[in-house]
Amino acid sequence: MNSPKSHGPALNVVGLRKEFRVKRGGRARTLVAVDSVSIDVHPGETVALVGESGSGKSTVARCIVRLIDPTKGAVAVHGRDMVRMTHRELSQAYGDVQMVFQDPNSSLNPRMTARQILTEPLRLHTDMNKSARNARAAELLSMVGLGKEHLDRYPAELSGGQRQRIGIARAIAVSPKVLLLDEPTASLDVSVRGQVLEILHQLQQQQQMAYLFISHDLDVVRRISDRVMVMYLGAIVESGSTEEIFSHPTHPYTKALLSAVPQIDPDERRERFRLEGEIPSPFDVGAGCRLDNRCPLVQPSCRAERPVLAAVSPTHEVACPVVLNVERIAQAV
């Protein structure tokens, strides 16, 4: 970790909650998509938010930038509260926090050239004149490994990897402090994935941006993040340094997730840790642990009370009293 913590976190999320009202069979029900999620990301640090579909990880990102409004909780970017901002204030705040989207095929306006896409944020957030904006657009392209010849191309004239680089260039155009990366490599081929990750790494080195990296790809997460938070059905079930999570996964869900990743090299393979069935509907979550019906370690107490995050080590937290007890005994011995 290379974060100067004295300046405080660049992104600070506390107790984020998002409810959706869903009409189902005539009556409205409340779906809790995100439940008391707290995240700190420091300048120059990459925190990965990991989970499967329906875990709420993308909803967290969308709440942070107020593409949707959170139901409860606080979001501060560089100490400024995002939740209470007006639309006008938000437009300005988008100079500090930006997002790279999952699918570069749909995140770029098909009727705008790379130049138009890249100069638009500059026009809105800086007082650069036209030639300065064009120069900056060319500079941005070179920062993501593209050339001037790509400036006047439309998205349809670029490959998937090139489009995603344009997406990254747009996000960093106004030098944000915080970058939300919503599965930025999920739709790319492996050979292109590496290039895009490398560009993101270089940019972070140069500009000390704070990255919140949302992904379901644990291989990628392991390579690029400093800390990992694992989400399941809207809540964080385990969080810790990348090293601790991958070498010493503690929560049953984390274990199941990590052991399911197929590995090329036989000595990297883990023994499968199996959960029953599939992720249930978020409507069917009881009062206790969200994993109660799938977990092989389930105890009667698990169904009574919802577990909260508790420390395994100073940098490692897990929301499972059952494994926590085992850990404590192991540490005591």
């Binding site: 499967e52 579909s53 998937g160 081929d189 492996v190 050979s191 994935r193 590496g194 290039q195 990750l197 490398e198 790494h201 379901h216 644990l218 291989d219 990628v220 390579r223 690029i224 199941a256 997730l257 052991s259 399911a260 990743v261 197929p262 590995q263 090329i264 090299d265 036989p266 393979r269 499968r272 959960l275 069935g277 599939e278 992720i279």
Partner: protein, 270 residues
């Protein structure tokens, strides 16, 4: 090929072809040759545009009408099936060859119950009564670990999760006891835990039935964990073929090496 090696169920030799487009002929497959060993699981690996899906469709005789074969053969049971017309193909498709697709929910008919789709498929290729077909269908669902199969038979594809729909699609493919099962990215888009369950199921079903399987994928991890042989494709050409252990641990081809490096993130400086 020596005599004591197990024989190939299907051999593709020098297969080339492409599409007629308004701007001229576009070659997509270039001199592709490989064999599917009987009772083995062979992976065809490649990135976007490698031609791997087109190859699978060629084996199934399901290529679009704009596709033209320029040369080569696909040999199965002593015949070149690439010369078959649709009527002839229908004899082997479903009965002897079956295929599972990437987007299982889209591949199932949305307005017919899952049970009826299974029963219809069963009766189309096997001489059984309706009642027998129903029993076979239910048994098939049990085999692919769909919970409460009797109830699930009455449901429609949209009531199934992506993972469950893929299981149904497998049941549909296997109900006619095919000799060859082609799987086109069967777990792409599914979560990793579900992917692991489905791949385990596929390996179980294939090895217990002695079926030959061909897995189209871009994920070398999946290949390493589930397949016996591998065919590496790049821009319509076969770059390397061989047993998985050998190709993935000691790749001879430059592109295969590069693909493995990318998959292992070796080019990252961090």
């Amino acid at each position: 090929m020596t005599a004591n090696e197990p024989r190939n169920l299907l051999s593709v030799r020098g297969y080339s072809g492409g599409f007629k487009t308004p701007s001229g002929f576009k070659n997509v497959l270039d001199d592709v040759s490989f064999g599917l060993r009987e009772s083995a699981m062979t992976a065809i690996v490649g990135e976007t545009g490698s031609g791997k899906t087109l190859l699978a469709l060629s084996m199934m005789g399901l290529t679009a009408s704009t596709f033209v074969k320029t040369k080569g053969t696909i040999e199965y049971a002593g015949d070149d099936i690439s010369t078959y017309d649709d009527r002839a193909y229908r004899q082997i498709r479903g009965g002897e060859f079956a295929m599972a697709f990437q987007d299982a929910r889209a591949a199932l008919n949305p307005v017919i119950s899952v049970g009826k789709q299974l029963i219809d498929a069963c009766r189309a290729h096997r001489r059984v009564s309706a009642a027998q077909a129903r029993d076979i269908a239910e048994e098939m669902l049990r085999k692919v670990h769909v919970p409460e199969p009797a109830q699930r038979m009455r449901q429609f594809p949209h009531e199934f999760s992506g993972g469950m729909a893929q299981r149904v699609l497998l049941a549909l493919a296997l109900i006619c006891q095919p000799k060859l099962l082609i799987l086109d990215e069967p777990t792409t888009g599914l979560d990793v835990t579900i992917q692991a369950d489905i791949m385990e199921l596929i390996v179980d079903l294939v090895s217990s039935s002695g079926m030959t399987a061909c897995l189209i994928t871009h994920d070398l991890g999946v290949v390493a964990e589930t397949c016996d042989d591998v065919v590496v494709m790049f821009r319509g050409k076969v770059r390397e073929t061989g047993p998985c252990a050998q190709v993935l641990q000691h790749p001879a081809d430059h592109y295969t090496q590069q693909l493995l490096r990318s998959s292992r993130f070796e080019e990252l400086s961090a």
